[in-house]
């Protein structure tokens, strides 16, 4: 009841007087493809001042302005020619659908930008990185594979444990603390080839947005970041395609109208082909060996009326490894999204989404092998979401909605020579949210909101109980309690589920702003992994009787400054994060196929703090960015006994704690035909654990480790270069455009240390040698043939 009262009070606070106003609304789309353009600033200028609106993720905007006044509507968006239209005095609501034409950025042409591109200093958004597929494709890549996540790690605050590691870490968060959404569907493993490449086919991606902090209230369920990836909607104007033939894989994306201006589609596929070359080795071991991955992306959107639009999108991707009749190992994601957008009235936009997401892996022998052995595991999600965006007056934009995520966890089942199944787990996570983007004055804006999440761990399954439930130990199990299907095993409700969100922006002059944000987030599911980097066989487990939800509180303070024509942007941000109830693992924890996983876990706290600097050049022949992060990430585990402490209960650095992280990315359009690019990355060494001494067990020597992460690897640095030559670049209109991209990863063949480890000569056990493990040992050249039509 208190929550409802709070909700109504919140609505009351923002309720405006609507009389004497009317609304200009519509969608913003790209002229050549008909794709909607999100996050663009739409300005209604009149003699009495400016009214602004930002397009939502579906390209919709709504401006509520006083009646009887003339307006000039202006839209500015980087990469597109400015839009301007004068509207005479109006007295009724006006629908104005706007199309933006791509701006020419070819060398020698003068760019005309009549408006200042200063959205970054007028919005409350902070700790957010946006990249378009076009920008990502300009960054030199490993083996030429355009990789969204690898590119994100070149931004401040985003890092990985090391080269080739799976997942990414944002501001001191574990890799499982990132909510990765593909068309609103959660993705549980974003890597191919154990982490070397991401699952996102850049040809199928429209844009990418990473929230490192200040998360809008409609996002929840993860502590550290939201990576929101939107697939292309498909060209509504003409049939078109993009593709490429690379060293590792080839890809093709086609799009076009099925019914012009009504129904359009996008279909993309990618497959690697390492395995196709194996027969050339003439080796019986490789004859039936398979190593490949593939992705399929599809999206169809239909305009049912001027007010209704339906989208259906799906992704299916898989990695497959197999060796003769010895083993098969496959893993992959399947996501499907059904979305309905409706413009209820010019000031009220509605979005309903139904999502299915499935991550699974199978490990075992081929089905016809003797003896056969198959190990299955999966996590399934059913997400429903209804959200409204309400534009009550020029000063407020209100988002509110309800969400529910139903989880089914299949931790593991073995069939074949053995038959064994871990119990399935069921959970549901309902949530409400509301937030208001409030333009308090022309220079002061606030986005404040509240998310309320709850979580229910449900039967049927059996729960093991312990003498001390706060420190469950297998030897102290006292019995088994069965729970019926649907019966609540554990619930997390109450005020602890409130997740306040606040972001403030104070504009100082036309080109600079002071920003601040605070957010609390709660995470109810955890990836159970004590590996340095996550593996495809790690499983997710929900909060329940013994595993509590993790929380984080983050505050951030920042300064945004634009220079010149706003083509150069500087952002400086400081942040502090306090984590609670983070999972850690007992020494020697056995996490594989463990029914009562709580007996292997520890609970701890964390803190992360740092400063991030990002200097971007968005326009001109030379573009790119310089990013620098100075940060610390630490953990603290003290359960009161030696077995439940790490490092004697002292704070210790997390695996991915790196003091300095510097990245420089640059791209230069030399001519219409030639473009060159480069990136340089430097990172401080990461923490590792060295042995303190040597002991012996029945003639075997072994290392004794007592100081986790007490040492560090040497620093890492790497230079990558690329060049693109566009064929027939001088011709104006071409039905088939193509280019060659070539370059080199790790140009000066730096052997960056992933870890330092020790190996004994077992014939002379006292003879121990230290080794440095580097994932990439040399320069890795690449070339790719790309085309579009």
């Amino acid at each position: 009841m208190r929550q409802i009262t709070l909700f109504l009070a919140f609505i009351g606070l923002i309720s405006p007087i609507l009389a004497q106003n009317f609304t200009i609304s519509g969608t913003l789309t790209e002229a050549s493809s008909g794709e909607s353009i999100p996050s663009a600033l739409v300005v209604a200028r009149s003699s009495s001042g400016n009214t602004t609106a930002t397009t939502n993720p579906y390209g919709f905007y709504s401006l509520t302005v006083p009646k009887g006044v003339s307006y000039t509507i202006r839209v500015e968006y980087i990469g597109y020619a400015p839009f301007k239209q004068v509207l005479g005095p109006l007295n009724t609501a006006k629908t104005l659908n706007i199309t933006l034409k791509e701006e020419s950025t070819q060398l020698g042409e003068v760019e005309v930008v009549s408006e200042r591109l200063n959205a970054n200093v007028t919005t409350t958004e902070m700790s957010v990185s946006s990249l378009t597929a076009k920008e990502i494709k300009k960054v030199p890549q490993l083996l030429g594979e355009t990789d969204i996540i690898r590119t994100l790690t070149l931004l401040p605050g985003v890092s990985t444990v090391g080269e080739g590691a799976s997942g990414f870490n944002v501001r001191g968060g574990n890799a499982d603390q990132n909510l990765i959404l593909l068309d609103e569907a959660p993705v549980y493993n974003s890597s191919h080839l154990f982490g070397f490449f991401s699952i996102f086919n850049a040809d199928a991606v429209k844009d990418v947005k990473l929230y490192k902090g200040g998360m809008p209230a409609h996002y929840g369920g993860r502590l550290s970041s939201v990576l929101d990836v939107r697939q292309k909607e498909g060209n509504s104007q003409k049939f078109a395609g993009t593709g490429g033939i690379g060293l590792l894989s080839s890809r093709l994306m086609i799009e076009g109208p099925l019914v012009k201006d009504k129904v359009n589609f996008m279909l993309a596929g990618r497959r690697s082909y390492f395995d196709l070359f194996f027969p050339l080795f003439n080796s019986p071991e490789l004859d039936n060996t398979t190593i490949y991955f593939y992705d399929l992306n599809i999206k169809i959107n239909a305009k049912l009326s001027d007010k209704d639009r339906v989208f259906v999108s799906s992704y299916f991707g898989r990695d497959q490894f197999g060796a003769s009749d010895l083993f098969d190992f496959g893993w992959g994601n399947w996501t499907s999204t059904l979305r309905w957008n409706r413009l209820i009235r010019p000031t009220l936009f509605f979005n309903a989404t139904a999502v299915y997401s499935d991550y699974n892996y199978q490990l075992g022998t081929p089905v016809d092998a003797e003896p056969a052995f198959i190990w299955d595991s999966r996590i399934e999600n059913y997400v429903t979401n209804a959200g409204w965006t309400w534009y009550p007056n020029p000063a407020h934009t209100v988002d509110f909605g309800v969400q529910n995520t139903a989880y089914v966890f299949h931790p593991g089942a073995i069939s074949g020579v053995f038959s064994l199944e871990l119990q399935q787990e069921y959970a549901t996570e309902p949530a409400l949210y509301i937030s208001d983007d409030w333009r308090i004055t022309d220079v002061f804006t606030a986005t404040y909101g509240l998310r309320y999440s709850t979580f229910f761990n449900l039967g049927g399954r059996d729960i093991q109980v312990y003498r001390n439930p706060h420190n469950p130990i297998q030897q102290e199990a006292t019995g088994i309690v069965p729970y019926a299907p649907g019966e609540i095993i554990a619930s997390y409700t109450g005020l602890a589920g409130l997740e306040p969100r606040l972001a403030l922006n104070y504009q100082v002059g036309a080109r600079s702003a002071l920003k601040a944000s605070y957010n609390r987030s709660r995470q109810y599911i955890h990836l159970i992994s004590n590996n340095t980097t996550a593996t495809p066989v790690n499983v997710w487990r929900p909060a329940g009787q013994f595993i509590e939800p993790a929380t984080v509180d983050q505050v951030a303070l920042g300064w945004a400054q634009n220079f010149g024509d706003n083509g150069i942007r500087l952002s400086v941000e400081g942040y502090y994060k306090a984590f609670q109830n983070l999972l850690d693992y007992k020494d020697g924890a056995d996490l594989i196929f463990t029914e009562y996983i709580e007996t292997q876990l520890l609970k701890g706290a964390g803190r992360a703090y740092g400063t991030e600097v990002l200097l971007e050049k968005k326009r001109g022949a030379v573009t790119g960015w310089l990013g620098y992060t100075l940060s610390r990430t630490e953990r603290h585990v003290d359960g009161g006994t030696r077995q439940t402490r790490i490092n004697n209960g002292q704070w210790y650095p997390a695996n991915y704690d790196k003091l300095h992280d510097l990245n420089l990315v640059a791209n230069w359009s030399i001519s219409k035909a030639w473009e060159v690019g480069g990136s340089f990355a430097f990172q401080s060494g990461r923490p590792i654990t060295y042995p303190d001494s040597r002991a012996e067990f029945e003639g075997m020597y072994f290392p004794v480790y007592t100081n986790r992460n007490g040492a560090r690897t040497p620093p890492s640095h790497r230079l990558d270069l690329s060049a693109t030559y566009t064929l027939g670049a001088q011709k104006a209109q071409k039905p088939w455009e193509s280019s060659f991209a070539f370059g080199a990863y790790n140009v000066y063949a730096r052997r960056n240390p992933y870890s330092i480890f020790f190996r004994a000569d077992f014939s002379q056990p006292t003879n121990v040698q230290a080794y440095r493990l580097s994932i990439f040992g040399s320069i890795i050249p690449y070339f790719t043939y790309n085309f579009n039509f």
Partner: protein, 290 residues
Amino acid sequence: MKTLRIFFSAAFLAVSGAGILFTGCQDPIDLTLPDGEIRLIVNGSVGDNQSVYADLSWSVNYLSETANPSVENALVILYENGLPVDTLHHVGKGHYDGDFIGSYAQSYHAAVTLPQNGDLPYGTWRSAPEAMGRCQTIDSIYSAFVPRAPFVREGYYVYAHWTEIAGSGDYYRAKIWRNDTLENAPFNLSVFDDGFLDGRANNGLDLPAIEVAGPDTVGVTYTLEIGSIPLGLFSYLQLLREQTLQVGGLFDAPPAPIVGNIYRDGNPDDFALGYFYASARRQAAVTITP
């Protein structure tokens, strides 16, 4: 078509090269490690057909090129169900022997007392009581010739049949001697539980036979020992194997202390290294014949 062929040929060469380059490199480096805290190491066992023993030594710097120094002035006492049953005597190089032979289901622990000796730790350490588990006799052991197959080398292999006792919660360690020499490198460490094979037979019918060794030559003798171990030692040996073989790799767990079941009297936070346990052991041997 020709262009496509050239492209794929070039791609193949590049991929092959990249594949070679792609594999991680391991370079030896020079490193100095500081000396850690010196700790007592106690390793010992009591069997149902082997008398009690204990080996005592001190920990040393991990990169030390000499053996761990032995402890030769300790008082070592064996307890059964909490009562002292044997005092072990030092026979040399930190090795202590006793006469007592244990029994199934009885609980055993050892106490080690060291007098003051310079800066070295002194006092009394005690192992946690461990019950002796059960172990079935090995049904049979034999050799067989296996022809070449993918990922299988041709030659003579040694197999054993063994039936696990019904009833879950049993843990085992297997040891193998080749011509009377114990194969005792960390990668030879073999421990298993009855999670997948409770009450079942590794006889080639119900479950595959146990592959003991191979391929090897005719005339070589192999001895297989299967011994019951407590859960604590099972976890300890798994961790020991991981920490010596699987460290530093992309997917390896961060190293953790390998702590056994021996603690200083009155201070559960102060541990000695090593493990003292009870074990029921069964052996069988075969010489490879054509």
